[in-house]
């Protein structure tokens, strides 16, 4: 029992070590992150301007606002995927990780969490700018609804996208033409959850009760479970040539 506790503590410390190293590296190369923010802001600006021009300044309907934001998030994920395993492989540091006495699952889960942090950070900026620039018709959103929106509408799908992104990044790191393969592998994986994510967001922002969101939430949780199972089963195979 004590040995098990010790092993768990040690695994958690390893997880933290890899995660903090990734965050530290990212902060030292902050320009990469700025270019992602710039891409998001310019996309929102173009989308909002085109809509505003074609409708002569009307507020953006909720459905279009949600689709706009998530479409930009999906494309941002492609950029972020190249920061996970692909970057480690290209810089040669993957060898250092896989030759260390740590389980493949710890490496994979630390990368998922790192992707989750990056994507959440991007989403905060994206939502703030899109609310300001697109002026969507959201009415009477209480604090409770806002918390439900952040937890279930944003964080849960972001976790799912982070898992898919890490899986694809690990799959494609040994492929020569990565920029071509990354989106081709990613889109079939995230396609089944696109509709539930958008539907969930619209319903929460419209003020629907949590009771009526069960199907969407269950679908996303099932997708997360499936992707995590694939990752855990393939962790050793994925990391080695």
């Amino acid at each position: 029992m004590q040995n098990k506790d010790k092993a768990q503590k040690s695994s958690f410390k390893m997880f933290k070590t890899i995660l903090f190293k990734d965050i530290k590296s990212e902060i030292r190369q902050i320009n990469d992150l700025f270019s992602i923010f710039l891409f998001d802001i310019i996309s929102v600006f173009i989308f909002s301007s085109v809509y505003s021009f074609s409708t002569e300044g009307q507020n953006m309907p909720l459905e279009i606002f949600v689709i706009e934001v998530w479409l930009i998030i999906f494309f941002t994920l492609i950029y972020l995927m190249s920061k996970l395993f692909v970057k480690e492989k290209e810089s040669g540091t993957l060898g250092g990780l896989i030759s260390s006495p740590i389980s493949g699952n710890i490496i994979l889960f630390s990368k998922i969490f790192y992707c989750l942090i990056l994507l959440s950070f991007v989403e905060i900026i994206l939502f703030l700018f899109s609310v300001f620039l697109s002026a969507p018709s959201i009415e009477n959103l209480s604090l409770g609804q806002l918390m439900i929106f952040i937890g279930l509408g944003v964080l849960l799908p972001t976790l799912d996208l982070s898992i898919c992104g890490s899986l694809v990044s690990a799959f494609s790191m040994y492929v020569k033409n990565k920029s071509f393969v990354l989106p081709i592998l990613l889109f079939p994986l995230i396609l089944p959850i696109t509709t539930p994510i958008i539907s969930l967001n619209i319903k929460i922002l419209e003020g629907t009760l949590i009771y009526d969101l069960v199907y969407e939430i269950m679908f996303i949780i099932a997708h997360i479970t499936l992707m995590i199972s694939i990752l855990a089963l393939l962790s050793q195979t994925l990391l080695y040539d």
């Binding site: 030759s99 006495p101 740590i102």
Partner: protein, 237 residues
Amino acid sequence: MVESKKELINCVNISKQFGYFFALKNINFKVRENIILGIAGANGAGKTTLMKILCGLITPTLGRISIKNMNYDDHSNIIKKLIGISTDESFLYEELTIFENLKFYDNLHQNFDLNSIKTKIEQFAKQFNLTEWINEPVENLSHGMKQKVELIRVFMHQPSILFLDEPFSGLDYSTTKLLIDSLNELRGKENVSIILTTHKTEILKQICDEILILKRGKINKSLTKEEYKEIQIESFF
């Protein structure tokens, strides 16, 4: 006396295929404890591929490897605790400092005691003349300095088997001498074995107990210290 040393690594029928190309064909050899084994050969002979297979970085297409009677499939983490690896690729993160890199890799070998890590890094930095550069990002270092940091990374967790792929490349005269002395000192300690590749045959002759010469993915010649002294190693490349 030599025969009493225990068997450390056993390679049986190792072959590695990349597409249609066989980088290694039916490699069989054994390494005993507490020796320095040199792997030599011309460019493209398969030295680095063999080294990466021995380290567990790539898997062989055919054959099996056992290290201390354990294989990578069943005892991967136990073996990885025992070994230290330096390959042709740098494992260092360019944007992190020397200290951060070395601390990171020592943490991965389950040492989380910051004081002991600091002490070890300071000692190695002094030994390799890197004290002034310890808080400098790796991207600002020269190739030779990076090679020194790589070697410190390998020595940090005190492995009992060292796999060093071209460890002398990019090193100046004094660091080459320092490394040769360090390797000889390590061999003096019980149970530390070193497997290295290099083109520099004069260094091989200086430090190796046995030399394995590869030619086009096959073992062309295996020489002991007594045998290689008299001959020109390059003639078997």
